[in-house]
């Protein structure tokens, strides 16, 4: 018996197949693109292929992320808040606080020792799209997303970036460039600005350790350092952080099966 979690995000779609011993049997990661329904199906099929298991063995599938309602073949949908909480607590049992910097929203979640969501806070309108904030900065400076993290680490004199707004930060960076400021100093300033804002969000739900940093942006070492500096605590980061939502969804699916829930399709068609 296997279960699956399919996380359809604004930029990438991910899936995780889990077996009944909670071992990850297969994963997938691909750009969501313009057709969301197809992206969900492809993510699920690729994860199944990686797990070398057959679709018929899937006892329960849960969709999450912005496109969760488009996971047509799923048995249920759960928001990414619930899934990131479940996934982070599974990988690091001492987790009490989760920080997820996603493409659209930044989330801070407080959980109980059993992984229940006790409180969460999300970014303010003007601080939306933190993932895109980094994307916009990399674009203006002419670097890739993977390069800006390491580049920001060797800054001597970080420049204070005052703009919260993704659109206006580009003109601020262009002005600093035009003044001949060093690229790594600007990048360090950008990472610290996001670190400050995210720390403010975490403080709203309380910075009780241990803190787990999830989502694609956590692969950026410069962002991990900036967040740890602003939070004043070290953070867990897992190489699986991009699949945290899909893993959490799969874990919840497994708990549903263990709790007696029956696979909708096996039970003869959609509810």
């Amino acid at each position: 018996m296997i279960v699956a979690g399919v996380d359809v995000g604004s930029t990438t779609s991910k899936a995780v197949v889990l077996d009944d011993r909670r071992q990850i049997a297969g994963t997938s990661l691909l750009p969501t693109g313009a057709n969301v329904v197809r992206a969900a199906e492809r993510a699920f099929r690729e994860a199944l292929a990686a797990s070398k298991r057959d679709e018929s063995e899937a006892a329960y599938v849960i969709g999450t992320g912005y496109g969760r309602y488009k996971v047509a073949f799923g048995d249920d949908q759960v928001t990414e808040i619930g899934c990131h909480a479940r996934g982070a607590q599974f990988l690091f049992p001492d987790t009490r606080t989760i920080v997820d910097i996603g493409g659209q929203d930044t989330k801070a979640i407080r959980i109980s020792d059993r992984g229940e969501v006790l409180d969460f806070s999300m970014n303010d309108k003007c601080a939306a799209g933190t993932g895109r904030f980094l994307d916009a900065c990399a674009n203006v400076i002419g670097m890739t997303l993977d390069e800006i993290g390491p580049a920001s680490m060797n800054a001597q004199k970080p420049i204070r970036i005052t703009n919260v707004c993704t659109v206006f930060v580009e003109s601020e960076i262009i002005a600093h460039l035009a003044r001949g400021e060093k690229v790594e100093d600007i990048l360090r300033g950008v990472h610290l600005a996001i670190g400050s804002r995210t720390a403010g969000l975490v403080r709203r739900v309380g910075t009780n350790p241990a803190v787990t940093f999830t989502g694609g942006v956590s692969r950026n070492v410069g962002m991990v350092q900036a967040l740890e500096e602003r939070l004043g605590v070290s953070v867990h980061v897992s190489p699986l952080s991009q699949w945290m939502g899909a893993l959490g969804a799969a874990l919840i699916a497994l708990e549903r099966v263990e709790g007696g829930a029956v696979h909708r399709i096996a039970a003869g068609g959609a509810a």
Partner: protein
Amino acid sequence: MITAGVDIGAGTTKAVLMDDAGRILVKVSERSGARLDAAGSRALAAVLEKAGLRREDIAYVAATGYGRYQLPERDIQITEVTCHARGASYLFPGTRCLLDIGAQSTRAIRVDDAGRVMRFRMNDRCAAGAGRFLERVARALEVPLDDLGPMSLHSADPQAISSICAVLAESEVISLVTSGKATEDILMGAHLSIADRALALLRQVGVDGEVTVTGGVVLNRGMLTALERRLGRTVNASPDTVYAGAIGAALLGFVRLRKLGEAR
């Protein structure tokens, strides 16, 4: 007499030479690169070389654009709004209002019959980023930037995108994508939302009379169609308007020369 107009933008730098009969002798356009001060001097040297002239043959050099203070050879620096207005009126003499839609900022300018600025208004911080917004919409929809305009023209049912803010508008685009709306309908919706914001700016300075559009957006058929649909009449647009800033600077050079001549 010959004057030079050099428009040093964040992306590209343009330079033109004009004679006192108001003819454009020669024009160049180059990438600005990271060092803005070098960009201006490089463009000036290129336009002189193309015309087979030397700096001494030029009676007056006017700089404009983002890097207008960084051209050592200049006699004066003038802002891009003032130069754009004069240059666009040179290219389209009937112009009464000018809409300049760039990557970051949108400008609405009311001009008199001689191309002088009467009133102008620039976008609010929250309504910034028209060009940049289109680039990100192109990436979200996996459509090459140059196809944005043509593709949006096939739209049968444009999707309304209401947010003023480009970031929130992008989230709306992503929600439309996740709810399976047709790509061309989303694209036309995106163009119309930019057109609405730009025309709202223009209405604040007065939208009656001939409208001329400048800025990178001029090359995008979809954007011009969206503007004309919302405006209810045609607009002037031509690839030459990308030189409007440099042309305006050169023409204003002659205005200063006449004033200095009278002063002596």
